[in-house]
């Protein structure tokens, strides 16, 4: 069974059967459920919910949890090379937070009746999706600043709205996460500030990092509203409260003044301020790149999954030891 469960085939089969076997919902129950949502009530694990609501949340939450876990890798890469003890302890704390965030959300998915073991296997065998941003390499120290500033900044914009999502356990996990992300963003922006006020080489390193991470950060909000398959239903059920494009615009509006304060530019020749809408209008996103990275062909997809599998395998003895220790203690208690 272990072999079958771990295989890619199993996950594929498992996922397709889950989708196919969705039972037809009772219209009266659906109406009562939608009335609750319309009244702004939150849905709790034991409440009745449409099978489709459950499966969409499982998909969204597990992708979110996977992203937190994979998100440890690009930054973990720089812990040993942090330029000072202060930076090193911040980075360790941040990476530990990401592990915690993954746990909060995995626990949230378990309230939907999913086994974390299955979700984890989908991540390890490559069938699960996670945020495309983590498939880009972290080439310089400036990347640690820019990830905190842009990537965690984008995550905050997204998660602040998710904190009002209709599913209670997800919303509560988001509230907790948002509090912690603020530290992530500020430590990132501090790194950027120091580099921006540093030597010409440091400024160039910062600009280079922004040039590489700007567009991938905008892609973090997902496909444009015109191409987002899941958006309509998710908005109706208040799983999402704002569309991908609305959130993306909000992020750009917040971020451009921060870039100006650093004295750096973003790599978008079409960027302009629209005095009427008060929006920073940005150029067209390269959606073919987004599709490539999301479907497994980004610069680091393979490396990330290999690192994740190695970490999982290397941790096997720890899980075994913990189980053995608990069993031994239970035996001692029984004997006493």
């Amino acid at each position: 069974m272990a072999t079958l469960r771990g295989s890619r085939l199993y996950s594929l089969l498992h996922m397709t059967t889950t989708i196919r076997q969705l039972p037809a919902d009772d219209p009266a129950q659906v109406a009562a459920f939608e009335a609750l949502i319309a009244a702004g009530e939150s849905i709790e694990p034991k409440d009745w919910m449409p099978a489709r609501y459950r499966s969409q949340l499982t998909r969204m939450m597990s992708q979110h949890a996977h992203s937190e876990v994979v998100g440890m890798l690009p930054e973990g890469n720089w812990i040993t090379r942090a330029p000072s003890l202060r930076r090193k302890q911040s980075l360790i704390a941040k990476v530990q937070d990401e592990a915690g965030h993954g746990l909060y959300i995995y626990c949230g998915t378990e309230t939907l009746g999913v086994d974390r073991f299955d979700l984890f296997n989908q991540l390890l065998d490559g069938t699960a999706k996670y945020s495309s941003i983590f498939n880009y390499p972290t080439l310089s120290w400036a990347d640690m600043g820019v990830i905190g500033w842009l990537v965690d900044g984008a995550a905050i914009v997204n998660q602040t709205v998710l904190a009002k999502t209709s599913y209670g356990p997800y919303a509560r996990a988001m509230v907790r996460i948002c509090k912690e992300e603020n530290f992530h963003k500020r430590q990132g922006y501090e790194i950027c500030t120091v580099l921006a006020n540093g030597t010409p080489a440091q400024r160039a390193m910062l600009q280079d990092a922004v040039d590489r991470f700007w567009w991938p950060s905008l892609m973090m909000f997902g496909p444009s509203d015109t191409n987002s398959l899941n958006s309509g239903e998710l908005l109706r059920w208040k799983v999402k409260r704002k569309t991908n494009d609305e959130l993306r615009q909000r992020f750009v509006n917040l971020t451009i003044p921060q870039a100006q304060a650093l004295g750096i530019t973003v790599p978008d020749p079409d960027l302009r301020f629209d005095p009427e809408t008060k929006n920073w209008v940005f150029g067209e996103i390269d959606w073919s790149e987004f599709q490539q990275v999301i479907s497994g062909n980004g610069p680091c997809n393979r490396e990330r999954l290999e690192a994740r599998r190695k970490a999982h395998d290397d941790g096997q003895w720890v899980r075994e030891a913990a189980s053995a220790h608990a069993a031994k203690r239970a035996r001692k208690t029984e004997a006493a």
Binding site: A2, T3, R5, G6, S7, E44, K46, D47, W48, A93, Q96, D97, G100, L103, Y104, C107, E110, D115, R116, F117, F120, N121, L124, D125, R172, A173, R176, E180, R309, H312, D313, Q316, R319, E320, A322, S323, H325, A326, R329, A330
Partner: protein, 101 residues
Amino acid sequence: MAEPTGPTDSHWPLWEVFTQGNVGEPFEHAGSLHATDAEHALQNARDVYARRGEAMNLWVVPSTAITASAPSDAGPFFDPGNDKAYRHPQFYKAPRGIRVF
């Protein structure tokens, strides 16, 4: 890829974690986690739910030990408390001009 074998942490018992933010405050549900036994659960709860001084005290409770009311029966179940307006101060009239509170 190595197949996942042996004990996996998600098959350890599930524990519900409650945190007390300050002495004298009520315990609040923080979330859940998997752990082999109570002591392990307590240590994991500290690492997952109290990294920034959020808790003065922690409770961990096996999830299976919790009995909860059913949302579907919430109406009749809570009904005895819902129709007794006379249990609220607003039910009682005080003469005009007199501050009772």
